[in-house]
Amino acid sequence: MKRVLIVISMIILFFIIYFLQANFFTWFTIAGVYPNLFVIMALFVGLFMSKSTGIPLMLFLGICLDFFIGKKVGLSAIMLSAIVIIGGLLAKNFSKDSRITIILMTIAATVIYEIGFYILNIMLLGTAIEIVPFAKILLVEILYNVILTIIFYPLIQKVGYYIEEAFKGTKILTRYF
């Protein structure tokens, strides 16, 4: 029941982010560049939720996003799911207690998502390859995402551990016994 409520909350969070991204952040851009809150959300899901729930959830939300405003259905879904997988791998190997680690994870997730999305766009939609302008936008986007992560870090950590407990249970660190 708790897990179902969390999943429903995540879907609601997705729509809140969608409307924030579509309306609020169009007024608050850095050099005309928007942040990508969906990447932060996918990373959050990957870090704190189980793979078996996180991947289908982000796949579903990604497809929704593609239907709402995407050029081709599936592109956002693939990339957001990939970020969930990467988030799971990072959670295994790095501490989530450090602000710096979370910031570095956000940078990595943003870079992987945007580069992957851009490559898919080039391959499937014939988008022109413009490396320098792409890199410039990506740098600003990373900066924006990092700023938002720093601001929301206490909330991410608090809610994250609550979700982790619900999905993964409290793990005993056998190494220290």
């Binding site: 579509a22 928007y34 050029k71 766009n121 939609l125 022109a128 302008p133 792409f134």
Partner: protein
């Protein structure tokens, strides 16, 4: 003795000369023209030659002394020439604009041949690398995929997907968008694509090497490609970027439509 005689002769000669002078001075000059002619025929050729030389020298002297004045005059003339050239260029631009405006007038009449449906933009793209939006009309209103979307100022894009009540429009400034266009004055064809360099501008490529690209020239759809009808205004040439290889040169086009402020569009249904 000798000295006394010489003195008397001298006095006599002087008196005779004086008498002659008195006599000659009382004769009018006309009566002496014959004598004058004789003198003139002897003196004038020499005098003429000397006058010629004098004039020549004084003329050259004037030339050298007037160099600075001539330079100033030259500068003035050059400025006048530049102004005239500028006026000519402006005149040519005005002429071209006049022709284009006449074409637009025809275009407005041409638009009247199309059946259009007005729509509001209800959602805009969330990403930094693409530019699409959603409009509030769909299949129920007769909207279908690949229909052209315009605004009162020019071309906006085309419909890429449609639901019963909404339609997704890919704008011409989207990085995946590509359209065939022509320059309104020279009629040279080019390909316009969305670019990441400037989110609200287009990049015109495949410009023929012989094409004369004029800044400010209007760009309109060529009608090729099967989506956009011919003659819809796309934008104006903002700048031309020349590369080492002329075939790689490209132009930045400022769209006629302000994509930042656009709120309503027209979908050409027929």
């Amino acid at each position: 003795m000798y000295n006394k005689k010489t003195g008397i002769v001298g006095i006599i000669i002087t008196i005779i000369i004086l008498i002659l002078l008195v006599f000659l001075s009382n004769i009018s000059i006309e009566k002496l023209s014959a004598v004058e002619n004789i003198f003139s025929s002897i003196i004038m050729p020499v005098q003429n030659g000397l006058t010629y030389l004098k004039n020549k020298i004084s003329g050259n002297d004037e030339f050298f002394s007037n160099i600075s004045t001539l330079k100033q005059e030259n500068e003035q003339l050059k400025n006048q020439n530049a102004q005239l050239e500028q006026s000519l260029r402006e005149f040519e631009i005005i002429k071209s604009e006049n022709d284009t405006l006449k074409e637009y007038l025809n275009l407005t009449e041409k638009y009247s041949n199309y059946t259009t449906k007005a729509a509001y933009i209800i959602n805009k793209d969330l990403g930094n690398y693409s530019n699409i939006f959603v409009i509030n009309i769909g299949k129920d209103d007769g909207i279908d995929v690949n229909m052209t979307v315009i605004s009162e100022k020019g071309l906006v894009g085309h419909v890429i997907s449609v639901t019963n009540s909404t339609a997704k429009v890919q704008t011409i400034i989207d990085t995946s968008s590509s359209l065939s266009a022509t320059m309104s004055t020279s009629r040279d064809s080019l390909i316009c694509k969305g670019t990441l360099e400037d989110k609200y501008c287009l990049r015109a490529t495949y410009i023929p090497t012989s094409a004369n690209i004029i800044q400010g020239d209007k760009i309109e759809t060529s009608g090729m490609g099967g989506i956009y009808p011919k003659g819809i205004l796309v934008g104006t040439i903002k700048s031309v970027i020349n590369t080492k290889n002329i075939t790689d040169r490209y132009a930045i086009i400022e769209p006629a439509v302000d994509f930042e402020k656009i709120e309503t569009v027209l979908v050409i249904t027929k």
